[in-house]
Assembly symmetry: C2
């Protein structure tokens, strides 16, 4: 029997013993949070990309290297943190040891420079199977100020940056981690919960609801649908909204704030990126409805499960 990704994670998580006192947040958020010094906490996150799953064999190696680090930077941003030091473990096929390896390094180092990250080490291996790039990134955040998935409160507004859906056609390799947006958001205070959209809005908001023990309603006509989602819809017949809710790999930020703040963010955006106010946190349930009301439909967690999706 094949278990799903989240079942495996849950089964391992249940068996992790109580951590040391310096572990503020262990398994189950975008990053672990470790007490470091009087001023700042340490963030740690790891992401593994597989050829054929997260990137195709014909993807430009520069894009693969960029993405491998950018997805981890997105995780640090989603905690309200500042990315700092990365290590990269790679496994390459024999025919990838020349130009491909160089291209990978180019993309990785370009992304590192852009975001103030130091690449401080790694591990290099040969493989007969698909290539693997696993980046682990540390970050820093003001002590006690990491924004968790578990902080959403009933009545909070749910907001997202940018527009969603259809990223697999092109954007998913050219990830733009929302570091500046997260920093601007956190500087403004009162951000209750945050996550980056990697599995897809329906799944990722679900993670926030689970961690916060609350429900949500999402307003169908308020979800910012990317033009790539419309393109995908024209091709496969699924609605553009379904693409926006379920596709994943958007690497936008989803966060909850008091309504008043959401109103101002929806007008001003964050660091030049639009912000959409897409719903609110409720006591229980998970529904998708039109803004004018009506009964709504149950929200299905249609996002990506690595063991379940094709």
């Amino acid at each position: 029997m094949t278990r799903g990704e989240f079942e495996i994670i849950a089964s391992i998580a249940r068996r992790i013993p109580a951590p040391g006192r310096d572990v503020v947040v262990g398994e189950g958020d975008d990053c672990a949070v470790i007490r470091c010094d009087a001023r700042e906490d340490l963030l740690v996150t790891t992401d593994l990309l597989l050829e054929g799953r997260h990137f195709l064999p014909d993807a430009a190696p520069q894009d693969v290297g960029w993405k491998a680090l950018a997805v981890s930077i997105s995780d640090v941003a989603a905690m309200g943190g500042r990315p700092r030091h990365a290590v990269a473990a790679i496994a390459l096929r024999p025919q990838q040891t020349g130009a491909y390896a160089d291209g990978l390094a180019t993309g990785l180092l370009r992304c590192a420079r852009r975001h103030g990250v130091d690449l401080v080490g790694g591990d290099t291996n040969a493989t007969d199977g698909p290539a693997v790039v696993c980046v682990t990134l540390t970050g820093k955040v003001a002590r006690g100020r990491a924004v968790l998935r578990s902080g959403a409160r009933v009545g909070d507004a749910i907001c997202v940056t940018g527009a969603l859906g259809g990223s697999l056609a092109r954007r998913h390799l050219r990830v733009t981690p929302r570091v500046a947006e997260a920093a601007a958001l956190v500087r403004g205070g009162r951000v209750h919960a945050m996550i980056d959209l990697s599995d897809g809005l329906s799944s990722d908001l679900g993670h926030v609801l689970d961690a916060s023990r609350v429900g949500a309603e999402v307003w169908a006509d308020a979800v910012p649908v990317h033009r790539d989602a419309r393109r995908a819809s024209a091709q496969d017949g699924r609605s553009a909204l379904a693409h926006a809710l379920d596709d994943g790999e958007d690497f936008e930020l989803l966060f909850t704030v008091p309504e008043r703040r959401a109103r101002s963010l929806a007008k001003s955006g964050l660091a030049g990126t639009p912000v959409a106010w897409i719903g609110r946190i409720t006591r229980r349930g998970y529904v998708l409805r039109d803004r004018e009301g009506g009964p709504g439909r149950a929200m299905i967690r249609g996002g990506h499960d690595h063991f379940r999706s094709p």
Copy 2:
């Protein structure tokens, strides 16, 4: 053209820009060393294990999980550090999501508990290729006290813990990281350089010589040959000494200290583990000779290159 592992690493390393001031040691040692607070520095290391390369498909998953963390703990030990927090990124084949995944977690958590490590997060993926386990580990070491590869001085004694060679037959999965030995060694002071033996003594001592810009002579009859190396020799006809020098995956410590200290360590051992004094650091060259002298032979770096070895 297939480039070797160390050529790829060197090519990437050359392109890494000067790191931030908080990076004490970047690429090129067992761990990166990051300035953390007034008392301690942060260590970071990452190791990727591939099914079919670092473990066979029929290896017990408990052993694989143990090894995946133990090899990183060995890296932290080799800096004189204390292991602290780990994240694990895994990719499993569909038929490995049940008992195999549980066994992997069992081995990982057992190794973590044994060495005071908290598992604080990870990433779980499906793969059609060989399974992958990539562990990244942080550690702590007293500020400015990390033992580097680059500190060996002419006249130093070269020592190793335990016995070497033939580990692939059985021991390589049941790695016993030499944390207590390293701690006892560092407490005694005056350790100039250290590395853990993963690629094989001939290669790993070579790394120390490169980093320290010195040479070495190794005394053939002083190298502690494991009984597994003798077994391997009986089977394949290569000398037991060649197995001890080149096999790799011993995960013993190699370090350099003043001769006086080596004399006492060779008598007392470290934390119950024998220590062998196997040679000395010279101005240049890299030779293997009998203790009584003679011209010696050039030492060949016969250790493991992931892209070159079968």
